[in-house]
Subunit: 634 residues, 2 copies
């Protein structure tokens, strides 16, 4: 069949596709990134577009509001092109530009470029300058034996491996440098791997990448392996988002759709490659000089990164294909760095406690301390680690995507135009908001939602169960398509010209999210038979965690009612742990030990968690004695 | 520039090339294999063709005889096409069809399909059938950990490795077989590598290849890894021959010509792939079921097989890039077997004593015996090993290609039409010859040359120095282009309609070849201060060695004057050692130990060898007391 042309406005980007292709697919091909949280099933209602010209066939109407329908909107995923068409893409339906504000802020927050306490720089990948003795007729061992002998006298290592493409360079390299040679060696777990050779004693830099693959965002640091300095940092959205916002939707895509695993593998590799290109350009560095990548991610992300199916992580009894994944070469994955670079990942503890948490725990140093520390990484999932040098327990709860803007009518990620602070007048119920980038508001991000929830309760607009008090005298409270709602900003002041509202349903979703996190913490404490008071430090990681207001978080019952000075934000601990492991063989070793040391508490199995969760669906909690500081509410 | 067409007759094969391309190159591209011993330098005079039509430009006349010139012949390597041309390729200029008679005969010679004494079948690569316990919510280690644990309880192994492409199959394979799984594991040196996975308890066969890469011929055996049976054997000429007949010419091509290393690497891979296809077809087997290849070859062949430069093997102080080469995966080399199959090679002892000799020594079992054994592999080079269970010494002498037909006017390989036996009437000097395949004679193969030399001396046609006795009364002795020559067969009885002659120069080359081998043996004996008599067994390997007449070989002074019953032909010991190593982990281990145990005697260094060589340039030798049985000569 002849292909047809799909033109996207206002981008003027084009895709040539077979008739019968969905507009969502065509958009992906054209490079127009549409929101799509359901993986194209027509249920999330995010991929709204307008057909300006041409013939299409609607598979279903799907989840489109009355209003959108009247405005001529259709779901891109349910709209099949039949001939040449022109499509208008409204701002609301787009993924934001590839710019993660979280990360920019984080750079400011982070002060310390040194290593965590107790670790000295001894990179897992480094250049070794060797001067070999020149062979003679009588001392005539082969080049490779000669190199191994010299390396062994420099390194403390067992077997020395070399890949064929590197070995092929050996003879000429040794002679070009007149038997001086610079060998880049990766050392993990006692084995050494020669990953690169240069003639002579080279002063070329060698770089490593620390990578955090989050479900939502991906962050890449470029590290100078000699000095340990971080030369550049870049973050962006995980391009896998086009196949679904949350891990589960992506797992289903990877498991059940033909070529789905390849889609998701390619999407994350593309994401990382884009960041690599950016970070290299920023630092005027060459990808050829990157000889190692240390990659942290949750189990599913690590699986998808390596092209391993995550299917059985999702299905009971929740078994990963591999908890420890073997190191691979960059070319096996198609990463834009030296093809023979070594790529290592962190072992996961359990299906839902991945290498990112292991890497993060490393950075907290909690396993070196007597103090009992609670480490929480709040993202799409909430993972937590509790313990000290003597014991470590870990658990994961599915907080759901609410804190990242998912499942909330006007939820959005923390980017320009997102409401982050809310003030509500206790008497008039008038609202003042401030947004990221000081722009007209477009939606509400995670920290804004927590703030909003806290303020709604504070002024009595909602009750402890999250019900909107419909008898209050304000035009902001009204009945909407979805039941009762509260108007935060009226359409005339918003970027999208729509009223930005929060519905009772939204509030229910938020309560579930915060309840899950709190119940997780409580379940862990119960398992070790300790009280909240024993926690001496609470470390909050994750892009989202960076910006929440602790008092708000306590007052809605998301975090335990501990003195705020016990709390500390540690930013993206996952990428920091990857950086630390890249720079210290001891740290990488410690991370591997940590993984084995942690006891995993399965929250979906016992009934304790369910009880705790039900009790936590109130603001702040059913049991007010748990929140002594949260009292003076209307 | 527009390409031109070169049509080859009588094959009707075509190449499209740039004007200025040599006819030799065009022939290679078209798939017409021409003889070419000098690598296209115009000096060997083998690549004679006739231009039937079209414009060509002659770079030089090169080494073309008056006769050939008159017949309109030109050297293909010196003939550049200028437009569309038609080329006639005479039979004489072709490499014979891909059929190695040696190998057919060898199958007859070989009686024993069992393993060498002392080894039981325990293949280096085998299928292990496992029944894993199904994971539960509480016993929930990852698939890969589960598999490793089960394997470890079956195998005696250290680390267990797996390549990414195999790991990617793991989750579905385990579940498809309901936690029964068949794992193909390669075990070399303590490490185990998972190379293949099948669901359930599979009864699919698994095959291995034993490969001998000779400079001249390549042999592939297909082995059933369960039963140890050899299912098929195929041999053919090494396609590298188009870049030169001997190792040195090929080394120069690989080192000095642009893309030369790639040319030679590809040529040997193509050769092996052709044999793989043939042997699989013969046995009705699938390449997907071949999971291991064990490859023996001299150092240069092993280097070229892996794409490693052999440049510094050739240049003083003769250093190989790698004496022990790491195992690689079939896909890294492009072999036509399962892409994840493991490919192992034998370590070499020295630059000119390679893995083929190690593999061969393994088969001789000489290192297990008290008897002092001499093992000789005569090919383009002569390699020899002397010793017993207490000591092993090895040396290599460059016999030159004479025994394979190189450097001899009518020399040819042992294939149809080659003279293998010669009888000369002591009175009339009339000659009777017999050829392989009982065809009209085309040339003389190595065993024919030895026979011829012995007979020429026996009847007094040549003296002890190899000089033709020009005063004898026979029309067969005459002056030719190259000085004095003896006519073995007149043109009317030959396939090529040319007189088949042997010149004084040819004889000189043969004396050098036999002198080098004998001098090598003497030098080794001298080095250990022993006499020839202590040798209890002489094992002769190599395709050529298979067919020589021991009495002839002694009477010309090629082999020591020992009782013929001490001699034994062992055929292609290199491929047999590869087979043995494939089928026995102990044997492969022993081979590696053997390599380390052998003392290498460098023959080009000391002066002993030169003295011995000079003394051996006579028939049978300067010192007649060394050959007491060789007396009654005219
Ligand atoms: S409704 Fe279209 S992607 Fe979700
Ligand atoms: Mg994260
Ligand atoms: Mg050989």
């Amino acid at each position: 069949m002849d292909k047809v042309t799909v033109l996207f406005f206002p981008d003027n980007l084009v895709a040539n596709v077979e008739p019968g292709t969905s507009v969502l697919r065509a958009a992906t091909l054209a490079g127009v990134e549409l929101k799509s949280n359901c993986g194209g099933d027509g249920t999330c209602g995010r991929c709204l577009v307008k057909v300006k010209d041409g013939n299409v066939r609607l598979k279903s109407t799907g989840a489109v509001s009355q209003k959108a329908k009247q405005a001529g909107m259709v779901l891109a995923c349910q709209t099949m092109v039949e001939g040449n068409v022109v499509i208008d893409v409204p701002k609301d339906s787009r993924l934001d530009e590839h710019q993660v504000l979280l990360d920019e802020k984080e750079v400011l927050v982070e002060q310390d470029e040194g290593l965590a306490e107790g670790y000295a720089i001894k990179p897992v990948c480094r250049k070794v300058k060797l001067s070999l003795t020149e062979p003679t007729l009588t001392e005539n061992v082969s080049d490779w034996n000669r190199l191994q002998a010299a390396l062994r006298s420099e390194l403390d290592c067992g077997e020395i491996h070399i890949a064929l493409p590197v070995l092929r360079e050996l003879a000429e390299t040794l002679r070009a440098g007149d038997w001086d040679v610079t060998v880049t060696v990766a050392q993990l777990n006692g084995c050494a791997e020669v990953v690169h050779l240069e003639p002579g004693h080279s002063d070329r830099k060698s770089f490593g990448l620390a990578v955090d693959i989050g479900t939502t965002t991906v962050v890449v640091y470029l590290i100078d392996l000699d000095s340990g300095l971080t030369l550049g940092k870049k973050g962006t959205y995980n391009k896998q988002a086009r196949y679904g916002d949350d891990v589960i939707t992506r797992m289903i895509h990877a498991s059940d759709k033909k070529g789905g695993l390849q889609d998701l593998h390619k999407a994350v590799i593309d994401t990382i490659n884009q960041l690599i290109d950016e970070v290299l350009e920023q630092s005027q560095a060459s990808g050829d000089d990157v000889h190692m990548a240390m990659v942290a991610g949750n189990s599913t992300m690590t699986h998808l990164f390596l092209g391993l199916t995550p299917k059985y992580i999702r299905l009971e009894p929740y078994i990963p294909l591999a908890a420890e994944t073997p190191p691979v070469r960059a070319e096996e994955l198609g990463l834009n760095i030296n093809p023979t670079a070594f790529v290592a990942t962190f072992a996961s503890v359990a299906s839902y406690v991945g290498g990112d948490i292991v890497s993060g725990t490393l950075v907290t140093n909690m396993a070196q301390s007597d103090e009992i520390t609670l480490f929480i990484d709040i993202g799409t999932n909430g993972e937590m680690v509790l313990g000290n040098r003597d014991w470590l327990m870990t658990a994961a709860c599915s907080a759901g995507p609410a804190f990242e803007g998912g499942g909330i009518t006007f939820g959005m990620r923390a980017m320009k135009g997102a409401i982050e602070y809310v003030e509500i007048d206790a008497d008039t119920y008038e609202v003042k908001v401030s947004t990221i980038g000081k722009m007209k508001p477009m939606g509400i991000c995670g920290s804004g939602l927590i703030d909003c929830l806290a303020k709604l309760r504070e002024v009595g607009l909602i009750d402890r169960a999250g019900k909107i008090q419909t008898d209050l005298d304000t035009p902001r409270i009204r009945q909407g398509d979805d039941g009762w709602e509260f108007v935060l900003v009226f359409g005339e002041e918003t970027e999208c010209n729509k009223d930005i509202i929060i519905t009772e349903n939204d509030i229910k979703n938020l309560l579930r999210a915060k309840g899950a996190v709190y119940a997780g913490i409580r379940s862990m404490l119960k398992a070790v038979q300790l009280d909240e008071e024993v926690i001496e430090k609470v470390l909050i990681a994750g892009g989202f965690g960076n910006f929440i207001n602790i008092r708000d978080a306590i007052s809605i019952g998301l975090l335990p009612d501990l003195p705020p000075e016990k709390y500390r934000f540690i930013g993206n601990s996952s990428v920091k742990g990857a950086r630390l492991s890249l720079l210290s063989q001891d740290a990488y070793h410690e991370a591997q030990e940590l993984g084995k040391k942690m006891t995993y508490l399965e929250l979906s199995v016992g009934n304790d968690f369910m009880d705790e969760f039900m009790s936590a669906l109130f603001i702040p909690h059913t049991d007010m004695t748990l929140f002594p500081s949260v009292t003076n509410l209307k």
